[in-house]
């Protein structure tokens, strides 16, 4: 099944900046459970994964712990396309690791995504200001990883959107707006699909924006494959295998011409400007439930 995913994904035109097709992700998390999950999430979206347990180990892996390890052979031999790290870690936090990466000559261009179970605005802002590409609230879902991969490596394979400073600021402010909007919503279950953020996370909203309301029902929307023809990727199996790779890897890209034929020919809700701004899935969880 993963072979089918990567075949579809490779149908995107490749730029000349890189010849390898697999995205290599360095995942950093002190929790073994989370490492396992993020590893699987990334593998299922056809990424190569190296999972390490601490910021220090990540620095070791990247050669950042030794100031003089900047030889081109080392850097070229080590291809890291994305670094995804937990925020709260003993020793070196994700934030500190972010600073180290952004301060390094070799890896400052590599996008860094921060994960955290705490949805703290100040923390998010700090990370974005320091140069983080995106901020994901845990628990991480398949839709998060897919969205990440699509907007980072979907149509601009090998190029990194963050090279554009304006772009980043726009993204930053876009996120802040979303934060305010999200804080007004408190769904009973933490769902990723409130209408403004319904770009790619929930399958039932992916192709038909007007139907975003069903996705806010408490029961998991991902599991009602009968409601929308494109909802095959998370459920993984109800429809014939040919449909699932299509929806999992490429339907969310703005230039998608591969949207499943069974969906209505609506103009995709994800216009390029929307996709460039990273949407953050924010959750409002009820701590007073216990």
């Amino acid at each position: 099944m993963s072979a089918m995913f990567s075949r579809r994904w490779r149908s995107q035109p490749e730029t000349t900046t890189t010849t390898t097709t697999d995205v290599h992700v360095l995942a950093v998390d002190d929790s073994l459970v989370d490492r396992k999950v993020i590893e699987r999430l990334l593998k299922i979206t056809s990424c190569k994964v190296t999972a390490v347990e601490s910021g220090w180990r990540a620095c070791q892996y990247l050669g950042l712990d030794q100031e003089d390890k900047t030889s081109p052979e080392f850097v070229n031999g080590l291809k890291v396309d994305l670094i995804i790290t937990d925020y709260c870690m003993p020793g070196m936090t994700g934030y500190e690791l972010l600073k180290k990466i952004k301060g390094s000559a070799n890896f400052r261009e590599v996008p860094v995504v921060i994960m955290s179970s705490e949805n703290v605005v100040a923390r998010i802002d700090r990370c974005l200001e320091e140069g983080a590409e995106d901020f994901i609230v845990k628990p991480v879902k398949l839709s998060d990883v897919k969205r990440l991969k699509d907007y980072m490596f979907g149509e601009t394979r090998g190029t990194i959107p963050s090279a554009d400073k304006n772009n980043k600021e726009e993204k930053g402010s876009f996120n802040k707006r979303k934060l305010q909007e999200m804080s007004d919503n408190s769904p009973p279950l933490s769902l990723s699909s409130s209408p403004p953020l319904s770009l790619s996370s929930s399958p039932s909203t992916s192709q038909s924006p007007p139907t975003s309301s069903p996705s806010t029902s408490p029961s998991p929307p991902n599991l009602s494959p009968s409601t929308s023809p494109s909802t095959v990727s998370p459920s993984n199996s109800p429809s014939p295998p040919t449909e699932s790779p299509t929806t999992s890897s490429s339907p969310q890209s703005p230039s998608s011409s591969e949207s499943p034929s069974s969906t209505p020919p609506t103009s995709p809700p994800f216009s390029p400007s929307q996709l460039e701004s990273p949407t953050m899935r924010l959750k409002v969880t009820n701590y007073d439930q216990a």
Partner: protein, 198 residues
């Protein structure tokens, strides 16, 4: 799409339809749809096992013991990683029991409690619980953390007891779930040898 499979669930389960269709149907589709074998030929045992599994899952969702993140884990399981959920959950059990022991040891100290360490362990337990969808355990950790932040010792003791109890319940139920799943998989392997099966 797989509506033709659902009528059987309606007969056997008495849970609200929404839960059934959304949660139960997933598990029906996950295995049987691929073989295209009508339910009536499957044999009552297999059907009952799946019903049991769905019923148990529905119950756990209904009780708030599990949330959608658990389903997300299920979605990550396939032929290439057929035991993913049980592997992750097993790791979760090991890690959690370590944290629970740490918490209990910290609270055993009659005089000074190390609040910093308490919070660290709670955060870790909270994080991993949320990653596998153990909603109730996670929420109790949050309440426990609140009690620690308020220096409320008796609330902390109570919270620890509730936490241990909830964790035990979760562990038992998940074991039960995996056992049913095992039986189902074995039964299917016997019944349909050579048929590709997730």
């Amino acid at each position: 799409m797989e509506n033709h499979l659902n009528p059987f669930i309606h007969i056997s389960c008495s849970y609200p339809k929404r839960h059934q269709v959304n949660q139960c149907s997933y598990f029906w589709v996950n295995s049987k749809a691929k073989t295209g074998v009508p339910l009536c030929l499957l044999g009552f045992g297999a059907v009952r096992l799946r019903t049991d599994m769905n019923r148990l899952l529905s119950l756990l969702f209904h009780q708030g013991v599990l949330d959608e993140q658990f389903l997300q884990l299920q979605q990550l399981q396939d032929e290439t990683s057929p035991n993913f959920v049980s592997e992750v959950v097993t790791i979760y059990f090991h890690e959690s029991e370590k944290q629970l022991r740490n918490l209990r040891n910290l609270l055993l100290d009659r005089e000074m409690w190390d609040y910093v360490k308490l919070i660290i362990h709670l955060n870790q337990l909270m994080g991993s619980s949320s990653s596998i969808g153990a909603k109730r355990v996670r929420n109790i950790c949050a309440a426990f953390r609140g009690a620690v932040e308020q220096n409320n010792r008796s609330a902390c003791m109570r919270a620890l007891e509730v936490l241990e109890h909830e964790y035990c319940y979760l562990k038992n139920k998940l074991h039960e779930l995996f056992q049913i799943e095992q039986q189902r998989v074995l039964g299917d392997a016997v019944r349909y040898p050579g048929v590709l099966h997730p």
